[in-house]
Symmetry: C2
Subunit: 309 residues, 2 copies
Amino acid sequence: MTRERATATAPPSVGNVAVGFDVLGHALDSCGDTVTVTRNTSGRVRILEISGLDLALPLDADANTAGRAVIALLESCPRGTGFDVSITKGIALGSGMGGSAASSVAAVVAANATLETPCGIGTLYRAAVQGESAASGSAHGDNVAPSLLGGLVIAPREGDPVAVPVPAWLHAAVVRPHFALETRASRAVLGEPYPLHAFVEQSEALALTLAGCFTSDARLMRRGLRDVLVEPRRAHLIPGFAKVKSAALDCEALGASISGGGPSVFGWFESRASAERAAIAMREAFRASGIESSAVVSAVAAPGARVIA
Amino acid sequence: MTRERATATAPPSVGNVAVGFDVLGHALDSCGDTVTVTRNTSGRVRILEISGLDLALPLDADANTAGRAVIALLESCPRGTGFDVSITKGIALGSGMGGSAASSVAAVVAANATLETPCGIGTLYRAAVQGESAASGSAHGDNVAPSLLGGLVIAPREGDPVAVPVPAWLHAAVVRPHFALETRASRAVLGEPYPLHAFVEQSEALALTLAGCFTSDARLMRRGLRDVLVEPRRAHLIPGFAKVKSAALDCEALGASISGGGPSVFGWFESRASAERAAIAMREAFRASGIESSAVVSAVAAPGARVIA
């Protein structure tokens, strides 16, 4: 039996993960975005309400990430299907923790739960990526894929996302300074061309990190988890970044870098206890730059989106 | 008991492997380079003889890849150690099949076999990379690492190489056109800077291919095995390349590209039989461009260097 109304929640996520710009992301076990949809026969998508952290989001469905994602999903629904959408934001916008992606994912997962013939993961993924592009101005799935599937995920431009197994001991600390960085602004600094050697170094980092994940080898992750490509161009957008990163590394991070487009900073650790210690030190480092912050500590193998009502 | 004299052979290899420029390579089960060394107390390295395919190589030890590799190894040998080196080339130079790397690897493996306290793999790797730089003008280990270890290997700029497991069914066809392409010439076309989106596409390709290797998933390899970064800049150096690549793909290659700096062309296949069929078609495609060629078909999990006497 299908229902006309469903609510889904989708978690925040760390995009890029230092080694996989626009390609790799992982979920965070923390308060996400929640979307309730009601299916109708209007053939249209309406945003009824946005509540929670950010109230300044567009109610025009085509300009709203969740709205645009559900519009994209309509192509895979019976003719005449429409949805009314209510969004509760749990993730701060402009934080680099995949808030736009989570709204898109929660919306398509909720809408899908009302369909007689549900769509597959690949269809939900592509619809949510289209939704997120409303916010970022470019279609990339490195937040959508982990928010949808959970865990660490390769987010390809075509075809289904690919889960990467990670050991249960692997934990992330993500510290969010209390100011917003627009995804568009964060992407604007990346325009200039890059020398080939930077890409060779970054490919090596990606290969070592993935090898570490597939073989549960922390030493390989430690050799690999770094960003020589994008981090140097974005670091100046985050006051105190160098100190916060150093604080993570001083607490035995396997690596630390910018979460998504920033300004959040993440590190990977060999245990939850290490990640928790590091989160405190990273917040102190932000405070030394006069910036308040909050922290999330989560297994990298965190759950993805789910229907909750 | 140590011996004063040892002979080692090291196999050819496919560098870059489409998705890992300067980072990834795999061995080929085919005739390699063979080096005999005699240990002495001269504190110096001499090249006594070069035989086999290429007779125009430098006898000056510091200008010769094998010579320079053994010179680099001296740092890890007891003071006063010297070596006389004789090289038999089995791999055509300028073929893109890692001939310089194989000479370097065979030399350090043979020299190591004469030491009372043999060096570890990491030391041999770094010495052989230094040797290969005599030929290519840049230090990269994507041929050295697989020629040394066998199989598919991540070749980092620092630290030990990292083996990537590959399924036993995975086979390569490598077709070598009968003309040489200098590594230096092949690298000269790569100078111009690259746009970030090319890196993103290529990172995705690397991630999917590695995921395919770690999980024995041919579909993932097929999604990943491509080169949008370097192949477009080098393809024009290889007459008939597009046709040869098409021939491989028409024979169900998982992907096909340039082997190392070229001009050899390789493809990956789901069975030895497919690879053998493709090798014939790829040679025919070269012939249609008026170019004779020869082919190697090998498991990707091919053996590395070994002491033979």
